[in-house]
Amino acid sequence: MSGDGPSTDGDGPSTGSDGTLDAGDDGDRAPDAGGGGSDDGRWDAARRRLVRLGQTSVGERVLIAFSALVLSMAVGTVIVLVAGVLATCRDPALTIGGSTLCYDPFFVFDRLFLGALGDPLAGGWSPLNNQFAATLRETTILVFTGLSVALAFRAGIFNIGTQGQLVVGALASALAVLWTASLVSGTLALVTLIPVGLLAGAVGGGFYGAIPGALKAYADANEVITTIMLNFVATLVTRYLVRNHFADPTSQATQTRTLPDAGQFPAILFDPRTDFSILALLLALAFVGGVYYLLEHTSFGYDLRTAGIQPAAAEYGGVNAPRTVLSSLTLSGALAGVGGALFVMMTLGKFQTGIPSYGFDGITVSILAGNNPVGAVFAAFLFGVLKSGSNVVSFATNVPPQLVGVLRGLIILFVAMPEFFRLIGRRLAAGEPESGAAVTAGGGADD
């Protein structure tokens, strides 16, 4: 599993000697059903190597995501039940057949979902309620980390370092805003600070993404490992920088000074105490459109996707593979960095160590969305619900909020095994023709 994402693959994929990204292929039986273009032959191998998630049709993708979600909730219910039996507590939440349970899974999921939306079923619900604002606040950041992972994924690169890139972008953004604020004031500050912060976040994150990019492009170092290692390095180096050079002298916490108001996203419509700005969400949606356009309608996007699907063909077609790897990871890191900038300029108002694991959630968001930028919005919203709902859960019950972390992993696991759902689907629809053909024919989304 060393340095061989498909995009720098020199051996030619037909040998199948470098299977890092091989999606446990059904390529052996399905490719003939593929897109039906004249260059079918050349793309057979491509399809085999394509990450499975990108291979499925939008309909099936949504179905798989939904099934994975339901299944994760089911497993989550079992976990909460078992934990409820094993835990000891003063006042049990549920009594089933004489045995007492500390946690009530249905109440947990009720709080997780309805709570995150601000109880829409209760009377007098308004979309401007504070819990819904918290959900949208989390969604905004998750859109960026989801886009970051998705963009790299489309280029055939596993960027597990979104977390580190977000952390570096966040610190860069905080420092840039604080420094600029010392130079400008008044209206000038109002129009410069936020753009400066966003730009610094993008540059910081982009730089930090470029490191594993260059290592992969020019030294064949596997990006899964280097990006994970760089996450640790980012945490440690930012902690050092803040503690030793940029600490807020008035605070015990390891954090920078608070940004001036002009450097923070203004609260519009929503209560300012929720730390949510609709402007930031709109910015996130604009980035979604931008990334979609970049991937689907520019020659760079075409190169990137080709490098992801079929590196040998891409190189044959004149794509500079190392440069594509480098620029995709840089862009991916920049997206994560903007997410970090928003975390600083909207959520916290300063940089503080111990940033939540938005980057890892971004992996789930991207995988759930089948690496599609538009799908990432929905997946990010779902995860925004989970993250904000977990606070409601820990407020309303004694169930540890880490439950959401478990669900995050379970969802990835279930989405990663579409074959499982196909099997169930086939069992349910016994007698109907094999669905493989219909499945791959929909792969057109990536052509």
Binding site: S2, G19, G24, A83, F232, V233, Q402
Partner: protein, 354 residues
Amino acid sequence: MTDAGLVNSLRSASGRLLIAGVAGLALLALGVAGLVAPDSTAGRLFFVLASKSTLSATLRLSVPIVFAALGGIFAEKSGVINIGLEGLLIISAFSAIYGADVTGSLWAGFFVGILASTLLAALFAVVCIEFRADQIIAGLAVWLIALGLAPFASSVFYGGPNTTNVGTLDTITIEGLASIPFFGAFFDASPAVHLMLLAVLASWYVLNRTTFGRWVRAAGENPKALDTAGVDVSRVRYAAVLLSGVLSGMGGAALAFNIGQFTGNGPTMVNGKGFIAIVAYLFGNYNPVGALLSTALFAGLDATQLRLQTADVIAVPDSLVQTIPFVAVILVLALVGRTRLPEAAGDHYESGEE
């Protein structure tokens, strides 16, 4: 092997030589400095490095990484890339503590840890082999599940991400031999260290000298031939992945009993050791002894940074010194570049019978 492949393996070989050479030269230079000028920074650094306690710490820190690396070798040799080693370490570290707490016996806890890790590995195996999931994604899922589940369970049972302390394994000390300078560390160590050395030798023997080892290698290199020979490729892969669970379980349990407690904040007490293990076996070229040696490099750096923090030799802030092992892993990966992985690693194999 293609030209590109040849170039790559040459580069890998020269990368390994380069790293070994640089490490050797650095030690030599420090040794000279230590003899010539014992009071210089370099000299004092040498005495820190050459002390018995640094070797002790290196061995102690190596245990979880080596066990996970051995597990990773079996899985990947059989054709299943197990990137979820980190998750296996996390789950076994917690379960071992919980098991020890409930049963009152550390060794019983040790087996509970192994059991938990093996169960999670079994889930991973089913998902990859039966349901043909992408191995990298499934491995990440294993990591993230454990990263959520262990602190969750800890909060359920202990009210927070950190468990209670159940005590540590008693060290085995052989009087006399233990007082040998430097190498005395081998005779004054936790039984986990001896278990690790034993596991390295056993793994080497199993992989290279037994029928099972031959099957594992064939399942990764040429599954078709193995299938033709009448051996069920899936079963061999299941066995190898389960074995990676057992071995990682030993590593996680040993890690937890090293301090007697599971700590589950942030990246948990495992803190990337499972990923370092992957680089260790890649750098060790899938050889158990090689994995031990490359782990010793990373763990040695980690031990040095721990000692530097206490010995006050060089005034570098903790946070920066702590990055040393991670940076070393990145450098090694960049210098070694692509290693030749088993021909069919990452591929799903389906026998013609279906």
